[in-house]
């Protein structure tokens, strides 16, 4: 029934014309950066141009369709036909018009936009490195007040909303656990890369989109003019989670940015300190569950059953239940810890994404949850040691 309603509703919308659409965007979202503004202007200008071409040509055509019907007694100018000379002249005219439009009317503003857009380095105030991972973004501040801050930003829309079991929130699919915070009014140079497949970091309100290519660095820039929250998505097909890889940017004033950076540093230090302390099994399992749901459940599923054949089950997995360390105290190749740190094929290498505590916690959780009961505990300090 709900389905039918929807069908009728949309048909109604379509038939009732534009008034019903008043609050939907017909064009680019309001620009928040000079680049987006430039893009919007170029786009609008071009749209006007092509609409004029379209209407003029369409007008001529419709005139002909109405007036030159056989049923109106029109006789085709068959016998003589247009002379070759007039044919040549008349085919050169559209050529010349388009030549002017392409290279002058559209070509010149387009040139300036390109140069503007590609100038990522001049007067850049700070550098942030964005890494695409299946299916999350990692941000790393490379210099300035926030230097050294590094975190991962995951989709935070609950699975129940996606599965239609719960009603959808306002920012459905466009919300993350850790927003990337950028100061307003600064030219931020964004370096893009990826560790697995190609992604594309896109915030429509910024007018900047750039591919994140594994093993290469690409760059773009943003200079946000108004504080606020800006949302976008990955726009290069990157596998099953491609639709679930949002970008959320929080633009704040410079002062707020400084405070935020300070906070983050404190938190980071605390988390790193956690690596040296001895954790209880229950704490690790509890923390591990959090980490697991956030990072691993996309592939291995919340219950650990996986999605064979591509994504193996962790419940009962030989690796997840097998020994981690060999007799020499070093972790074994193809052991649980090795797989997490270094990954394999589609399985990401988590060593550059999660900290020691998280890795220890999630491993402990896997071994004592998800239907497994190995019983052992992996301490963050062991992970830290293993990294060396």
């Amino acid at each position: 029934m709900q389905f039918l309603n929807k069908v009728f509703f949309s048909l109604f919308l379509a038939l009732s014309g534009s008034s019903a659409f008043a609050d939907y965007t017909w064009n680019f979202p309001t620009p928040a950066t000079p680049m987006a503004l430039d893009t919007l202007e170029v786009h609008n200008k071009f749209m006007v141009i092509v609409c004029i071409i379209f209407i003029v040509v369409l007008g001529i055509m419709i005139y002909s369709l109405i007036n030159h019907r056989k049923s109106k007694g029109q006789k085709a100018s068959k016998a003589t036909g247009p002379s070759t000379k007039s044919q040549i002249i008349w085919t050169i005219v559209p050529f010349a018009i388009l030549l002017y439009i392409d290279f002058i009317l559209m070509g010149i503003p387009a040139y300036h936009s390109v140069v503007f857009m590609e100038d990522t380095k001049t007067n850049a105030d700070m550098v942030v490195k964005v890494t695409g991972l299946q299916w999350r973004w990692q941000y790393e501040y490379m210099d300035g007040d926030a230097k050294g801050i590094k975190f991962v930003s995951n989709l935070s829309t609950p699975q129940d909303q996606i599965d239609n079991k719960a009603s959808k929130g306002k920012d459905y699919l466009l919300e993350v656990d850790n927003r990337v915070v950028l100061p307003v009014g600064k030219k931020v140079r964004l370096l893009m890369t990826s560790t697995d497949v190609i992604h594309n970091w896109w915030v429509p309100a910024f007018g900047s989109a750039r591919d994140a290519i594994p093993g290469y660095l690409r760059e773009t820039w943003v200079k946000i003019e108004k504080p606020g929250v800006y949302r976008g998505q990955c726009k290069e097909l990157c596998g099953k989670g491609h639709g679930f890889m949002p970008v959320v940017v929080e633009a704040v004033s410079e002062a707020e940015f400084k405070t935020w950076a300070q906070d983050q540093k404190v938190k980071l230090a605390a988390a790193n300190a956690g690596a040296d302390k001895q954790w209880s099994k229950d704490d690790l399992v509890a923390k591990g569950k959090e980490v697991y749901i956030k990072n691993c459940a996309v592939c291995h599923q919340a219950g650990g059953q996986g999605l064979p054949p591509t994504f193996p089950a962790l419940t009962g997995s030989k690796i997840a239940n097998g020994p981690i360390f060999g007799a020499d105290g070093k972790y074994l190749k193809d052991s649980h810890l090795d797989r997490l740190l270094n990954g394999k094929n589609v399985m990401p290498a988590w060593k550059s994404i999660l900290n020691d505590t998280d890795i220890a916690a999630v491993i402990t959780y896997e071994r004592n949850g998800l239907g497994n009961s190995v019983g052992d505990v992996l301490q963050p300090s062991q992970v830290k040691a293993a990294r060396q």
Partner: protein
């Protein structure tokens, strides 16, 4: 379609009857018919796949399928529509009409022609097999990479990618064989007096298509071969760690992929003026200008490929070069548009179904072309790229330019091919339903794309919901309307009012001098053209 045609006109009793006949025939019209039937079937297969997608996109949230399966569907939809529906349709017409139009007894290499067709079912099987195997728990279904098979996503993918790679190889071999045949036929089989500059535009369009295919399909074959070795034999073409580059794949793919879109349309641009000429009862306007424009498009299409990955990062001069060269394609196209409209101007117009399709085609394809023009702008493309704006653009070009163009051709030549008239009323109804529901489906996609909806996502944010719902409803109406087309074709093949030899009052050209349907060996004695 022309079962009757073939069997009825059996002057030479040297070929088997019944099923065996169809398996072994070397006759250009029989093979053309098989191409066309195959194409029609695959159009429905590809369409049903995308209806699944549109149903999923009807509302936000995941209702019908897992994201993996969604990705498999869109890629297969595209590969099937482009390679198994649109290209075979054009080849079918080439087989049927080029010999008739240039006064040849048959295609120049009949056995190659036959094999070229019989490779297609192999390719179709390779594309569909992984889906069937997955039902039985073997492998994980088709390639979940989109039709572009970008590395390294496709390096990572499952067995479906291997099937897709070989399907592309086979489709490539088939197309190259078909192209060789067209090139040789046109250069060697023209009737005395049929100089190149007297040749019908359809033959011209196909000649250029054939050259483009010969030049680009093998490059695609090479690219997917590298993909195969990267997947299974340890090479590092697309892997930075080994010194390779994922963008290399995009260069190779689009070196083929961009000309491909013109490969699909050049035959249509060829026969469209013939339809306009027929129903406006006026000679073709600017024949020479059109020929040169077609050639110019063919050449330009080879040098603009990188506009498909302008956001992948390129030096500024390269960006500018690809932007301006892409824009220049609008020059010859503007000439073509102008010639088409000038052809109508002051004609004595009537609006039979083929003409309706032709006119709808000009208008809607105009929208597709003009949006292509803005896509070429590098700065704005950062926004358009891989958004639904692009999806809308290429359905206005592919579905209208390609499929609706082919439909015009089908209605135009069906009476010639079967010897019967189709049902005019149904044909017109089919046109109006198609044109309207097509716009209902794809017009909203422009807006949803501008607003920021990326393509290839199985689920979307709430602000895109209304437009998507409309689009889905449109798609289902569009799909259902095609049943009329199917019915009309079948009915026409089985009987109906006899068609005259000339069929249309204003028709011009050699094909209309033969009986409807034409004799088994078209021109046993070649006509002479003055």
């Amino acid at each position: 379609m022309s079962t009757k045609a073939a069997i009825h006109h059996d002057e030479h009793h040297d070929h088997p009857k019944g099923m065996k006949h169809w398996f072994t025939t070397t006759n250009h019209k029989d093979i053309g018919t098989m191409y066309l039937i195959f194409s029609l079937i695959m159009f429905f297969v590809g369409g049903i796949m995308i209806l699944g997608v549109r149903a999923e996109l009807f509302q936000p949230g995941l209702q019908l399928m897992k994201p993996e399966f969604y990705n498999q569907l869109i890629g297969s939809h595209a590969l099937i529509m482009i390679f198994a529906a649109l290209m075979p349709a054009a080849t079918g017409f080439a087989n049927w009409m080029i010999p008739l139009q240039i006064g040849a007894p048959d295609m120049a290499l009949p056995r190659i022609n036959n094999w070229g067709f019989w490779l297609l079912p192999v390719a179709a099987t390779l594309l569909i097999l992984p889906f069937i195997l997955a039902l039985f728990g073997v492998g994980d279904g088709g390639a979940a990479t989109g039709w572009t098979l970008y590395a390294p996503l496709s390096v990572q993918g499952g067995m479906g990618v291997d099937f897709a790679i070989f399907a592309i190889h086979i489709l490539g071999v088939s197309s190259v064989l078909g192209s060789i045949n067209v090139i040789v036929t046109i250069f060697n089989m023209r009737a005395p007096g049929m100089t190149l500059m007297k040749m019908p535009l359809f033959a011209w369009g196909w000649l250029i298509t054939a050259f483009l295919l010969v030049a680009t399909i093998p490059v695609l074959a090479g690219a997917v071969t590298m993909l195969l070795t990267d997947r299974h034999f340890g090479t590092h073409f697309f892997d930075a760690a080994g010194g390779g580059d994922p963008i290399l794949f995009q260069h190779l793919f689009w070196f083929f992929g961009h000309p491909e879109v013109y490969i699909l349309l050049l035959p249509v641009w060829g026969f469209m003026p013939q339809i306009l000429q027929t129903f406006s009862r006026k000679p073709i306007f600017g024949y020479k200008a059109q020929v040169f424009s077609l050639i110019a498009i063919g050449i330009l299409s080879l040098v603009v490929w990188a506009h498909h990955f302008l956001t992948a990062g390129m030096p500024v001069p390269a960006l500018l070069y690809f932007m301006y060269s892409t824009m220049s394609i609008s020059l010859p196209l503007a000439v073509l548009f102008f010639c088409w409209i000038a052809n109508i101007w002051k004609g004595a117009l009537t609006f039979e179904t083929p003409m309706l399709f032709a006119i709808g085609w000009i208008i809607l394809f105009g929208i597709g072309g003009l949006t292509g023009l803005v896509l070429a702008d590098v700065a704005a493309d950062a926004q358009y790229h891989h958004s639904y704006f692009v999806v809308a653009h290429f359905h206005y070009t592919l579905f209208v330019g390609g499929i609706m163009g082919i439909m015009a051709g089908v209605y135009y030549w069906l009476p010639k091919m079967t010897g019967h008239m189709y049902n005019e009323k149904l044909g017109k109804l089919h046109f109006w339903l198609t044109a309207i529901s097509f716009n209902l489906t794809f017009l909203p996609q422009f807006f949803v794309g501008l607003a920021g909806m990326p393509r290839r996502i199985p689920d979307y944010a709430l602000q895109f919901a209304e437009f998507n719902a409309i689009s889905s409803v449109g798609a289902f109406i569009l799909g259902l309307s095609q049943l009329l087309f199917l019915y009309n074709i079948i009915a026409c093949a089985r009987g109906g009012k006899k068609a005259t030899d000339k069929v249309w009052e204003g028709a011009e050209g050699l094909e209309w001098t033969l009986s409807s349907p034409p004799p088994y060996h078209s021109f046993s004695k070649q006509p002479t053209i003055k």
